[in-house]
């Protein structure tokens, strides 16, 4: 099933981008697509940070609250 974005809308991504994102633990809803009609393509996920890393980076901020 195609992942949904934060707004509940379908995320458009190429199959290869999905595969690589899954492999790297990247949440596609946070990736900006540079392909046709904003489609997320391989290059977008290859330059994106894994979700785990992104979450870790945010952790101190939420701790501080």
């Amino acid at each position: 099933p195609a992942p949904k974005g934060a707004d509940g809308k379908r995320v458009f991504a190429s199959p290869l981008a999905r595969r690589i994102a899954a492999d790297k633990g990247i949440d596609l809803s946070g990736v900006k697509g540079s392909g046709p009609h904003g489609r997320i393509v391989r290059a977008d996920v290859e330059s994106a940070k894994p979700a785990a890393a992104a979450a870790a980076a945010q952790a101190p901020t939420s701790d501080a609250k």
Binding site: S14, P15, L16, A17, R19, I20, D23, V41, R42
Partner: protein, 464 residues
């Protein structure tokens, strides 16, 4: 001449140049194309198109010879070489006329003459009437390429031919030597061999069709040999002794020299870019061997100066030239086009059997460190192939084991030049093996083998 100042001037009206000019005009640019010889370039006049017209005649001839296989019959099956060649020239002429019409329709100015670049932003054109000077913000060099001539193997038009001579032959060769088994060499070999010439192909690399996947080249070779061609790999023509109506070729193979006699030799040992006499180096453009060095957007480094198509280097293919033409036109109009990735450009060879491929060969994929999944499927397992009486061929696909990326697809057999686009579309859309597995290829078609080959890479083929 209505005007001398343009948004874009294109030098050379081949598939790179005329397409760039038309696209520029579509985008509202004032465009001009300068051509010294023929609209449509090598492609329409002495390349892609007339060769395919010749090959169609030999294909139909071959089918006629096989009439009995299809329950048909005919007496005295023959060809008239002049008529075959005239048809080919006629097709080229028709296409050239089409380009003329398209340029006019799109309001692209056409200047017939030889161009050079006297200064940045300037184009000088030597026409019948003298030299004209034109200016433009964007200048696109699309002057193409010509046959490479090796010392001692130079064409003379009588005994030794380039593709130009081979397209308008002075005679039907009886004993033909083709030097070089790239697309151009093998297409002529296929054409003349089918029409009855005793044909020998000499290839310096260790396989015919050197850029193709090993398995595909080996399969094609077997078919060529079955058709009566003699194929010499890892062999080199060192010398041609020309006499009256006769050439003695000195062919080095396995450290020994073999002497063989031919009445005709076709030299197809590559091409060189038309970089001379343009004033490129004077403007600061870098030239590597005979090709202009550009970035991925075809920019030369000199502001407003682009180089596209054959002159900008490999792959030397018309569709690469045309896509680069569209890209530079869009750049010039302020757009943000995507660069053309060489790895998504398919190569087609229209010999019998046809060969087509895109992406990496198995060897290249391994060389680049991929762990791969490889699938193959033979034509003999395909209903349409058998129904067509074209059961010789194979499809091979290569996937990245980790991501499922389709790294390469390789085909040999009937109609594969028309089939390969499905894989090209797949690669463009970043397909994985799964998408191709889920695709419903229509039955009965040759294209079902494209599906089976993917399935085969994962041990799931049905008809094998």
């Amino acid at each position: 001449m209505a005007s001398t100042s343009y948004d874009m001037i294109v030098i050379g009206a081949g598939p790179g140049g005329y397409v760039a000019a038309i696209r520029a005009a579509q985008l509202g640019l004032k465009a001009c194309v300068v051509e010294r010889e023929h609209l449509g370039g090598i492609c329409l006049n002495w390349g892609c198109i007339p060769t395919k017209a010749l090959l169609r005649s030999s294909e139909v001839f071959h089918l006629m010879e096989r009439a009995k296989d299809f329950g048909l019959s005919a007496d005295k099956i023959g060809y008239d070489l002049d008529a075959v060649v005239n048809r080919s020239r006629g097709v080229a002429k028709q296409m050239e006329g089409g380009v003329k019409h398209l340029l006019k329709k799109n309001k692209v100015d056409v200047v017939m003459g030889a161009a050079s670049l006297p200064a940045k932003g300037k184009v000088a054109v030597k026409t019948d009437k003298g030299t004209e000077e034109l200016t433009a913000k964007h200048i696109v060099v699309a002057t193409g390429a010509r046959a490479r001539e090796l010392p001692g193997l130079e064409a003379d038009g009588d005994l030794v031919w380039t593709y130009r001579h081979a397209l308008k032959p002075v005679r039907m060769p009886k004993k033909l030597l083709v030097i070089g088994s790239g697309a151009i060499g093998i297409e002529f070999a296929s054409f003349y061999n089918t029409l009855g010439a005793d044909t020998t192909v000499v290839e310096v690399m260790d396989q015919v069709l050197p850029v193709e996947d090993k398995d595909i080249a080996a399969f094609a070779k077997k078919q060529f040999v079955k058709q009566g061609m003699k194929i010499m790999e890892k062999a080199m023509v060192k010398q041609l002794d020309r006499a009256k109506g006769k050439v003695t070729a000195h062919i080095e193979t396995g450290g020994k020299i073999e002497k063989m006699e031919f009445d005709t030799v076709i030299s197809a040992v590559g091409i060189v870019g038309n970089v001379e006499g343009l004033g490129l180096e004077e403007l600061g453009v870098k030239i590597d061997r005979t090709h202009v060095v550009t970035d991925e957007y075809c920019r030369t480094g000199v502001e407003g100066l682009y180089a596209i198509g054959d002159i900008a280097g490999a792959p030397w293919l018309a569709h690469k030239a045309s896509h680069e033409g569209v890209m530079v036109a869009e750049l010039a109009a302020g757009g943000h086009p995507h660069p053309v990735k060489p790895s998504s450009i398919a190569g087609c060879t229209y010999c019998q059997p046809q060969v087509a491929s895109v992406g990496l060969t198995e060897a290249k994929a391994k060389e680049q460190g991929y762990k791969i999944k490889v699938g193959t499927f033979p034509f003999i397992g395909n209903g349409k192939a058998v129904a067509l009486g074209e059961a010789e061929g194979m499809v091979k696909t290569i996937f990245d084991e980790k991501t499922g990326e389709l790294l390469g697809a390789h085909m040999v057999g009937a109609e594969v030049t028309e089939l390969i686009q499905g894989y090209v579309v797949g690669r463009q859309l970043e397909t994985t093996e799964e998408d191709l597995m889920n695709t419903v290829f229509p039955h009965p078609t040759l294209s079902e083998m494209m599906h089976e080959s993917v399935l085969a890479a994962y041990g799931r083929a049905i008809h094998i």
